[in-house]
C-alpha cells in the first residue's frame, strides 16, 4: 500500500513503519553524533580535559581497570545492591499490589499512606537508614528498596485493577470461587503489565544506585565515581556512568526476554 509513497513521506507519516535497516541506521547515527560531538569537544580542547576526558582516555581507563579486576569488583558490588534491593521490593510489591488492586479493603488503608511516602525523596531517608541499619550493604539495599517499592506497589495495584471485570465475571460463571479469582484470573491477566512494571522500575532502581553509595560505601560504581571526583579523575566517572547505563540496558533486555517467555500470548 505504501509502494507509491516516497521514503520521506513514510518517515514523516505519524505511526508509519519504517524499514528495519533505516531504523538501525538512525540509531547508529545517533551514537555517532553523541560520541563524535564528545570527541570534537574533548580532542579539540573546546572543554579542558580536566572536565571532559577524551573517549580514548576513558577507553584506556576502562581497559586498565578491567585488567586489575577493579571494574569487575565494583560492578559486581553495585549489581548485587541493585538486584537484591529490587528483588526484595518486587517479592513484596507483587502480591501486595495484586491484593491492593483487587480488594478495596486492602486499597483503602494502604493507598493514602503509600501515596504519601512515594513522594518523599529517598535521599532524605539516608541519614535515618544509617542510624537504623548501619553502613553495611543492607543500608544500600534499603535505599534501593525504598526508592522502588512504593512506586511498584502503586503501579502493580493499577495493573490488577485494570483487569477486565467481565473476565473475572466469566471465570465465576465457569465455577471459579471468589477466593480463587486473584490467583486464577487476576494474576495471569495482569502478568504482562506486571512484568512491564518490573522492567520499568528496574531502571529506576539503577538510578538510585549512586544515592545508595553516596554515603558510607567502600565499593561500587557510585563509590568510585565519588572517589574519582575528589581526585579529578573525570575519566573514571565517565566509565562508571557508562557501566551503569550498560548494566541497565542488560537488565532491561533480560526483562524483555523473560516477558516474551513467560507471557508469549501477550503482544
Amino acid at each position: 500500500m505504501a509502494q507509491r509513497r516516497t521514503a520521506w513521506t513514510r518517515l514523516t507519516t505519524p505511526f508509519a513503519n519504517i524499514p528495519a535497516s533505516t531504523a538501525t541506521t538512525l540509531a547508529l547515527a545517533m551514537w555517532v553524533v553523541v560520541i563524535g560531538g564528545w570527541a570534537l569537544l574533548s580532542y579539540g580542547r573546546v572543554v579542558p580535559n580536566m572536565f571532559l576526558p577524551t573517549p580514548g582516555t576513558v577507553l584506556q581507563t576502562t581497559y586498565r581497570m578491567s585488567l586489575d579486576g577493579s571494574l569487575f569488583y565494583h560492578t559486581l558490588t553495585s549489581a548485587k545492591v541493585v538486584i537484591l534491593g529490587f528483588i526484595v521490593s518486587s517479592v513484596i510489591a507483587v502480591p501486595l499490589g495484586l491484593w491492593m488492586g483487587t480488594y478495596r479493603a486492602v486499597q483503602a488503608p494502604l493507598e493514602p499512606l503509600v501515596n504519601f511516602i512515594r513522594y518523599l525523596p529517598v535521599t532524605s531517608f539516608v541519614p535515618l537508614f544509617i542510624l537504623w541499619i548501619g553502613i553495611g550493604i543492607e543500608q544500600r539495599i534499603a535505599v534501593i528498596f525504598f526508592g522502588t517499592f512504593f512506586q511498584q506497589l502503586v503501579m502493580i495495584s493499577d495493573c490488577a485493577r485494570s483487569v477486565s471485570r467481565d473476565l473475572v465475571n466469566a471465570s465465576y460463571t465457569l465455577g471459579t470461587r471468589r477466593s480463587e479469582a486473584v490467583w486464577h484470573v487476576i494474576f495471569p491477566a495482569a502478568l504482562p503489565a506486571i512484568l512491564d512494571t518490573l522492567r520499568v522500575t528496574m531502571g529506576w532502581a539503577w538510578t538510585y544506585l549512586v544515592v545508595a553509595e553516596l554515603v558510607a560505601a567502600s565499593s561500587g560504581l557510585g563509590y568510585i565515581s565519588l572517589k574519582a571526583m575528589r581526585g579529578f579523575q573525570v575519566d573514571v566517572i565517565f566509565m562508571a556512568i557508562a557501566a551503569i547505563g550498560l548494566l541497565g540496558l542488560i537488565t532491561d533486555t533480560a526483562f524483555r526476554i523473560i516477558r516474551a517467555r513467560v507471557a508469549p500470548w501477550a503482544a
Partner: protein, 296 residues
C-alpha cells in the same frame, strides 16, 4: 401503572412448537402471581418480581417487577432497546449482581452468587488470553475437578461442535472476533450448565459473521438441547433463534409483551424472508417503536 407481568409458563415448554402464535401485550390483569404455574416441573429458571435499583432508594430504577420463566430446553430471547436493563437482568440471573427485591431460581434453588450451573457468554471478549483455545474450554471442567481423560473428551467434543479443532492450540489473540465467541460458547457449554445466559454475544461482530454465528448457534442448540436465555436488541436475531421472544420496555425495564415464535425447526437463515417471520417482526417493531416514541 400496574405491573405488566407476563408469565412465560410451562405451556410453552419443550416440544410445544406447534403453529400457534400468541401475544400478550399490556396484560390488564397485571397480576404477578396469577400466571404463576403450580406445575413448575418443566421450569429451569424462574425470575419472580425482580426489581433492581442502583444505589440508594432514590437511585435509578433499572428493572421494575420483572417476572419470567424459562422452560427446560427452551430458547428464550429478551429483546429491548438499549438501556432497558435486559443485560442487567442477565447479570442478576448469573448471580453477578444482587437483586433489590424478588427472587431468581434455577432448578428450584435461589440464585445468590455466581455458579457453574449458569454459564454465560458475554458481549465483550472474555476468553482467558493466557490460555490456549483448548485450555479455555477445559477451564470449567478443570474447576469441577473432572479427570484429565474426561476433560479431553469434553474439550474435543465441543471443539468439533464449534468447528475449531484446528485452532485448539492457538491463543485467543490469534483468533478473529467470531472465532473468539465460538470458543466462548464452547467454553460455556463444556461446563454443562443448567441454563446458558447469552448477553448480546454477537453484538460486536460484523453482520455477515453474526449470521454465521446465529446459524452455528442454532445447529449447536438443536443438537445439544440446552436451556438458553438470550439477550439482544436485534429483532431478526431474536426471531431466528428463539422459541419465545420477550419484549422489554425501557427505563425502568419491564416485560411488555411475550411473543411465541412458531417457525418450525430446524430453521435456516432464510426464515427472515417468510411472511410469518415478517408479521412477527412488524409486531415487535411496533412494540419497540412505542417505547422509543415515549422516550422522545
Amino acid at each position: 401503572m400496574g405491573s405488566l407481568i407476563l408469565n412465560a409458563s410451562s405451556q410453552t415448554a419443550v416440544g410445544s412448537r406447534a403453529m400457534s402464535e400468541s401475544i400478550k401485550a399490556n396484560n390488564p390483569a397485571g397480576t404477578a402471581h396469577a400466571a404463576g404455574d403450580p406445575r413448575s416441573a418443566g421450569t429451569t429458571m424462574a425470575i419472580e418480581d425482580v426489581t433492581l435499583r442502583y444505589g440508594d432508594a432514590n437511585g435509578v430504577l433499572a428493572l421494575d417487577d420483572v417476572s419470567l420463566k424459562v422452560a427446560k430446553n427452551e430458547f428464550c430471547v429478551i429483546v429491548g432497546p438499549s438501556g432497558c436493563g435486559k443485560s442487567s437482568l442477565l447479570y442478576l440471573a448469573a448471580g453477578l449482581n444482587d437483586v433489590t427485591s424478588g427472587t431468581i431460581k434455577v432448578d428450584g434453588r435461589e440464585v445468590i452468587e455466581p455458579g457453574p450451573d449458569r454459564g454465560m457468554v458475554f458481549q465483550s471478549y472474555t476468553l482467558f488470553p493466557w490460555l490456549t483455545v483448548r485450555a479455555n474450554i477445559e477451564y470449567g471442567p478443570k474447576r469441577k475437578g473432572l479427570p484429565a481423560e474426561q476433560r479431553r473428551q469434553i474439550v474435543d467434543q465441543y471443539l468439533d461442535e464449534v468447528g475449531l479443532a484446528p485452532f485448539a492450540d492457538h491463543y485467543p489473540a490469534q483468533l478473529s472476533g467470531g472465532m473468539k465467541q465460538r470458543v466462548a460458547i464452547a467454553r460455556a457449554l463444556a461446563n454443562d450448565p443448567a441454563v446458558l445466559l447469552m448477553d448480546e454475544p454477537f453484538g460486536a461482530l460484523d453482520s455477515q459473521t453474526r449470521g454465521t454465528m446465529q446459524k452455528l448457534l442454532l445447529r449447536v442448540w438443536e443438537r445439544q438441547q440446552k436451556t438458553v436465555l438470550f439477550v439482544t436488541h436485534d429483532i431478526d436475531e431474536a426471531l431466528v433463534l428463539g422459541d419465545r421472544v420477550l419484549v422489554m420496555t425501557a427505563r425502568p425495564g419491564k416485560i411488555k409483551a411475550e411473543i411465541k415464535v412458531d417457525i418450525p425447526r430446524p430453521r435456516s437463515m432464510d426464515v427472515i424472508l417468510e411472511p410469518d417471520f415478517i408479521a412477527l417482526k412488524r409486531r415487535i417493531l411496533g412494540l419497540l417503536h412505542d417505547e422509543i416514541d415515549e422516550d422522545h
